[in-house]
């Protein structure tokens, strides 16, 4: 396994622990009497769809890189980034709507946890977008023959995206059932 791949996987293990601890804290805090669940904002459904599309697009870029199709990589990367930004924008809209309806972080732990989980997830996605930006910049600047060098970067972006999608699906499910 390439060094960077192993590095990413170790990092994913670390943030998996981070997200697991958040979920345990969520469950623990929920069991106390003052928890009042949030209404599930409908906008989270299209947001989730955006993140799924983003992951699919990056997977397509990944396949393209493996088969040496530069155009497919470019399309996949662009679409992946656009959908990821759309997801983040959508999350901010959810925040705005909730705050507008009076669901402040301080008014109930359920609200506070919602903001906390979405923020931490969002920050991790933004970190991913930095790597995505660097990879895209190299791809557009470089010649087609450099695709082989970038193959690993594209693959790692895709792995990271799938992981964050999984985390989001778990959070979303948690939100829906509680």
């Amino acid at each position: 396994m390439p060094t960077a791949s192993l590095g990413l996987r170790v990092f994913l293990a670390v943030i998996a622990v981070l997200f697991s601890i958040l979920i345990v804290a969520y469950a623990e805090r929920m069991s106390l009497g003052d928890w009042r669940s949030l209404p599930d904002p409908w906008l989270l459904w299209p947001n989730t769809f955006m993140l799924i599309l983003s992951s699919i697009a990056l997977q397509s870029a990944c396949v393209g890189a493996r088969e040496g199709q530069v155009d497919r990589v470019k399309t996949g990367l662009t679409a992946g980034g656009v959908f990821a930004f759309a997801f983040l924008l959508g999350q901010l809209l959810v925040w705005r709507d909730l705050i507008g309806s009076g669901y402040f972080a301080a008014s109930n732990p359920a609200n506070a946890f919602f903001y906390l989980l979405t923020a931490i997830h969002g920050f991790h996605l933004m970190g991913g977008l930095v790597a995505w930006g660097r990879t895209s910049a190299k791809l557009w600047r470089g010649t087609d023959s450099e695709l082989a060098k970038l193959r690993l970067s594209v693959e790692l972006c895709a792995v990271y995206w799938h992981f964050l999608l999984l985390v989001w699906l778990i959070f979303f499910a948690l939100l829906l059932i509680t």
Binding site: M1, T3, V14, P109
Partner: protein, 599 residues
């Protein structure tokens, strides 16, 4: 007699380690300041950790002055005292010991000992140090905000940590939490390097079971830290939100100065769980590198192979695993369910088994060995004694019925200072005397070293044995002064004064040590190449001290474990790891190797 030693016939996969494109610095700044060389980063980590550790040492003197001579030093107010204990504890545990063992020793020794040119992600490694430095600066800056640093105690328990009765409950606590979060981010960057370097950058022949125990200790400790720090990270973020946004993750309904605050329903015990889920592995994050390093020091300076190498490795791994299921033994008085306490008491006592095994193996390593009473050996012997002392009081405190009356007394303070303060520091000192020649090419001054050792070793007992006794008397920890407490005899005050005097003397010995490190760098005796005649790879580099890229044109090949001391029939009393065996090593597979061995 043939000079076949240990596992030199063992089959080793023939895969060559690929040469890496090493980053070559082009200017003074990229060579010594924003350096990507793990050896320079190690020195940066160690210097920063040492500097902030010195602050924590001074804080301990101030605390001792107050405890030993209450009402004499009027410039120390109760608020100051709480800030001193908080900052002393946090700095020593996180910013000194964790950073020094992993960022300092880890960076210097891992690549050299496994035969790599550098860490696998040098750029990330560099950023790791600068984020750590930023975390330290944020921590220090809390002295300069209104209200000063937090005085919540190093465990930062809510609700008191963020209420106005506690010093530094505004800026101080926020800066502390931000600093911790930064530290964790920085550490994660370094930690990824240490783990992946050990897994992927070992040189040809360096199987996992041929790694020096130092590397094993640091490797497993890093994994613990990577998995434990997220809990503190989550706790720090949630408490910051409780403070800044007035959320109620941890804060229950509470009245402050006669006023109802907007908090309600939160769980302070949830914070305790998060804190100790990090906090207990933290003990082993400090202890496991110490275990590893001391094993190597004992072996080299006793001229004998480490006894039970495989068991030592497995003990490190098992202790690391168990350390994740003992955390609530720090919370017996938090009102937990008795069965819960029973579970944690059991796991706590089970951890004594692999730990005792290590102590036996260290002792058996010394049995009939050719012990050299060098400074690293003296510190290692002192470590064994001190660790056993501190560990045994841990067995007391691990039992719920014994812990409850001793909880929050000076006995606890004495216990953890012995086991995770003095013991690991003795290893740090031993390690510095051992590897200083490798780093600087000079020997540390022996006379100053002997003074440092004897004062530190004996002095530490003069300080902490009486503190155990104070704990039995019921003297509580974290109290600014006793006042007229009827159940505490006057002699406790005399004892406290004695402890303070000893603490100042031991503190002075550390200044001598610091002076020795600076003085010897310029005036010290020049060190011969490999002065301790050690087998491990860090001493076998082409240039001495090792230069950029660690090894010469080609990376070394490893043919044996790092403990071939006093091998019968060998020419010298040690065989370096990279010395080829007299018989050719087979690359054709384990079957061929065993056939050859059978012949």
């Amino acid at each position: 007699m043939a000079t076949v030693a240990h596992d030199e016939d063992a089959y080793v996969a023939p895969a060559e380690v690929e040469e890496v494109d090493l980053y070559h610095p082009k200017s003074w700044i990229t060579k010594y300041v924003f350096s990507q060389d793990a050896k320079v980063i190690a020195i940066q980590y160690a210097t920063t950790a040492g500097a902030i550790g010195l602050v924590a040492l001074v804080l301990s003197w101030l605390m001792r002055l107050q405890l030993g001579f209450p009402e004499v030093f009027t410039f120390i107010e109760a608020e100051d005292y709480y800030q001193f204990i908080t900052m002393h504890g946090m700095i020593m545990v996180i910013y000194l010991l964790t950073a020094l063992f992993l960022g300092g020793f880890g960076n210097y020794l891992i690549p050299l000992m496994v035969g790599a040119r550098d860490m696998v992600f040098p750029y990330v490694n560099m950023v790791s140090y600068w984020v750590y430095l930023l975390a330290v600066l944020v921590l220090v800056s809390s002295w300069f905000v209104p209200g000063g640093p937090t005085g919540a105690g190093w465990t930062l328990y809510p609700p008191q940590a963020i209420l106005s009765g506690t010093p530094g409950s505004n800026g101080g606590i926020i800066l502390m939490l931000v600093s911790l979060a930064l530290f964790i981010v920085g550490f994660t960057m370094g930690g990824l390097n240490y783990v992946v370097t050990v897994l992927q950058a070992r040189t040809r022949g360096m199987s996992l079971m041929r790694m020096p125990l130092t590397v094993w200790g640091i490797f497993v400790a890093t994994i613990l830290a990577l998995l434990a720090f997220p809990a503190l990270f989550v706790g720090a973020i949630m408490m910051s939100l409780d403070k800044i946004l007035e959320t109620s993750f941890f804060m229950p309904a509470i009245v402050e100065m006669g006023e109802y605050l907007s908090y309600g329903g939160g769980s302070p015990v949830l914070f305790q769980h998060l804190f100790w889920f990090f906090g207990h592995p933290e003990v082993y994050i400090v202890a496991l590198p110490a275990f590893g390093i001391v094993s190597d020091l004992l072996s080299v300076h006793a001229r004998r192979h480490i006894f039970g190498y495989r068991l030592m490795v497995w003990a490190i791994v098992v202790i690391g695993g168990l350390s994740f299921i003992v955390w609530a033994h720090h919370m017996y008085v938090s009102g937990m369910h008795p069965y819960f306490g029973f579970f944690f008491a059991t796991t706590t006592l089970i951890i004594a088994i692999p730990t005792a095994l290590k102590v036996y193996n260290w002792t058996l390593t010394l049995w009939r060995a050719n012990i050299q009473f060098t400074l690293p050996m003296l510190f290692s012997l002192a470590f064994i004694v001190t660790f056993v002392n501190g560990g045994i009081t841990g067995l007391f405190l691990g039992n719920v019925v014994v812990d409850v009356p001793l909880s929050d007394t000076m006995f606890v303070v004495a216990h953890f200072h012995m086991v995770m303060g003095v013991a690991p520091l003795l290893v740090v000192f031993g390690a510095i005397y051992h590897w200083y020649p490798l780093i600087t090419g000079k020997m540390l001054n022996e006379a100053m070293g002997q003074f440092h050792f004897w004062v530190t070793f004996l002095g530490a007992y003069m300080i902490f044995l009486p503190i155990h006794y104070l704990g039995f008397l019921g003297v509580p920890r974290r109290y600014y002064e006793m006042g007229d407490t009827t159940f505490i005899p006057d002699s406790a005050a005399t004892l406290n004064a004695f402890v303070t005097v000893m603490a100042l003397i031991v503190g002075f010995a550390q200044l001598v040590f610091l002076f020795n490190m600076v003085w010897s760098a310029y005036r010290g005796k020049k060190s011969d190449r490999n002065p301790w005649k050690a087998c491990s790879l860090e001493w076998q580099t082409e240039e001495y001290p090792p230069a950029h890229g660690n090894f010469g044109k080609t990376l070394p090949s490893v043919y044996r474990w790092p403990y071939d001391y006093g091998v019968p029939g060998a020419d010298d009393d040690f065989i370096p790891q990279n010395q080829p065996p007299e018989r050719p090593v087979t690359d054709s597979g384990p079957e061929a190797a065993s056939t050859q061995a059978a012949e």
